[in-house]
Symmetry: C2
Subunit: 347 residues, 2 copies
DNA sequence: TGACGAATTTGGATCGTTCCAATTATGAAT
DNA sequence: ATTCATAATTGGAACGATCCAAATTCGTCA
């Protein structure tokens, strides 16, 4: 029942060469003769040999693993991010070790420790809420390349890849103002995160720029989820002076806001303008199609992976902070397309 | 710059004990004296020691890794499944190695091979479309415990955990028939999968049972995604005799169908009944809330993980096929709740 | 034929842990 | 003081790959 493990020595014996030669074949060295290589490869297949990475890692004290830890895998933004990372990591001959922290610092500590024990060559982290520079200190001191994505952490001394949340929010609010809206809400998200802070400042700055009042009353936090969007819009509609438009913390919130609007017999787009943030895949196909600030999660994952690989290959690179640009994708949920259609019909 | 790796020997030297004792402490053996243990643990922390799992795995020829491979991580059903697996795997002291195949057989072969090389103790696989028993043969022969989830593969000789797709579909269609619908469509999904087959048979059997015509015309396949749902309902509405209700292949398709309905100024629930399949988190909060057949993805992940752990601990267990039960969750998208409310208002 | 450089091949030594059998310390009982 | 069981500790020998320096083969040219 219990099969004997087939090792390089077994291959060597069966193929009539030394284990060193087999090892050379395994790593595709050009030193070995073509016919020897063929013979070895044949016996490898024949005996059903399985490479033992633990042994190799031990000797080389490095692995071909890169770790990615995300704070919420059930959020499709992060699932897509992970997929983006995977595509480039994979074609560079690494394998991805993906862990989910569910926003829990303690769990994050565990998974990072586990990854270090497995000897990952680098780590891409979308930190859990509340992560501080001190939490990452032992990791960065160890010299393992780390790239932070989505959420940056001040003074952590590692590279990061975030998106230009401030500019994106400003662009969205400017667009709303151009369309004639004056009471614009900012809905959803946890107020104690850097991303919320940046998007909210962008919202506020656009308001100020247009000489509009930027009172706090129209900023309503909530969980950054669909359900959170529902509660946020409900709260917003209780206000004595209701908003006529909203920039949402992310697309999930925006979808929730649309749901909540419909529950009050208001049609998103026509009766109330809503803009999301992220541009997840569903944004395009939803009805009405969601106007949103596109941050391209897959592309972000890819760029993060490229940045990490660069650092791994460079041995030691300076920490660089990249702020990815972002663009407003105007679809239907902000009412623009409908108005255009109306205008065309009139002309 | 390059730090010397701290090993058990360094710890041993610093703590004034032998490396064997340190090893004993590391694995929490009761053989070691309390004060020695404390001393060793102190030096471990002091020197910033990082356990080397590659070395341990090599020696014990086994790892505390379990692998999970899913066919589409951007589908939240599978993301939730993975989260469910993670919770139980983690509390059993294993770490999860998650890979995404994007429905590609070739990629699946690669990730499974990679996992074997890393010496996973077991594997949970949601196979890519078109996977055959032969593809898994080398894996099962190697004696690594494998559990198939979601999609079963005939004669693969491994355990599987699927859900009762046939019964779920029947229950949904029966419900639609009770509500007075006579022209019911089955929308979305790839017709060449076992899951599609089972759900479609359930749909058909319920129709037959009620003496209704089960012609092929109302069965319309598509990609099992939101976008696929949009195209499927469009096709359905082109039919000369339009359906008044639809059972959808999964929730993503159902959401797409709702979108498509709205694009034609039809309100899902009120004007057209739609039922989904899976019960992903958004089903509850969507507007209208989606009536759907609940398969509880997280719970499924948990049960799959438990099944796998049982097999790992048992050494060698018989392959068992578990078919999880499933229940219809009636919400608003099938019109039921609205009618009930109407009835109550009248009474 | 012998010499020489290039192309191939090879035998240890080694990575950091665990396991085993054996040893030493401890303390109670005689 | 001696014996004996128990508790605690310990030195090698693995595990399966890679790496290095050295050895072997080969073809070519003097």
């Amino acid at each position: 029942m219990v099969k004997e493990r087939v090792t390089v020595v077994d291959i060597a014996r069966a193929a009539g060469v030394s284990k060193s030669t087999v090892s050379l074949v395994l790593q595709g060295s050009s030193l070995v003769n073509e016919v020897t290589r063929a013979k070895v490869n044949a016996t490898i297949r024949e005996l059903g040999y399985v490479y033992n990475r633990s042994a190799a890692n031990l000797r080389q004290s490095k692995s071909k693993i890169i770790g990615i830890v995300v704070n919420d895998l059930t959020n499709s933004f992060f699932a897509e991010l992970a997929v983006g990372v995977d595509t480039v990591v994979q074609s560079a001959g690494f394998v991805q070790f993906l862990a989910n922290t569910s926003e829990k610092i303690e769990r994050q500590r565990e998974v990072v420790a586990s990854m270090r024990e497995h000897g990952v060559s680098g780590l891409i982290i979308s930190p859990a809420r509340g992560t501080e520079a001190a939490d990452l200190a032992p990791l960065v001191e160890s010299g393992i390349p780390v790239v932070l994505v989505v959420r940056d952490i001040a003074d952590a001394g590692v590279s990061s890849l975030t998106s230009d949340n401030h500019a994106g929010a400003m662009a969205a609010v400017r667009h709303l103002i151009e369309r004639g809206h004056r009471r614009i809400a900012f809905l959803g998200g946890f107020p104690d995160t850097a991303v919320f802070e940046a998007r909210m400042r962008g919202y506020r700055d656009a308001l100020l720029e247009a000489g509009l009042d930027a009172a706090d009353g129209l900023v309503i936090g909530s969980a950054p989820s669909r359900a959170g969007g529902v509660t946020a819009i409900e709260q917003a509609m209780m206000l004595s002076e209701r908003p006529t438009a909203a920039l949402c913390f992310n697309d999930a919130v925006a979808f929730g806001v649309c749901d909540g609007l419909r529950a009050r017999r208001l049609e998103p787009g026509a009766d109330f303008a809503v803009i999301g943030f992220d541009d997840v895949i569903e944004a395009k196909t939803a009805v009405p199609a969601l106007t949103t600030v596109s941050v391209d999660p897959q592309g972000m994952g890819q760029r993060a992976a490229e940045l990490l690989l660069k650092q791994i290959n460079a041995g030691k690179a300076e920490a660089e902070s990249i702020i990815g640009s972002v663009r407003l994708v105007v679809r239907q949920s902000c009412g623009a397309a409908i108005e255009r259609r109306t205008r065309e019909a009139l002309s």
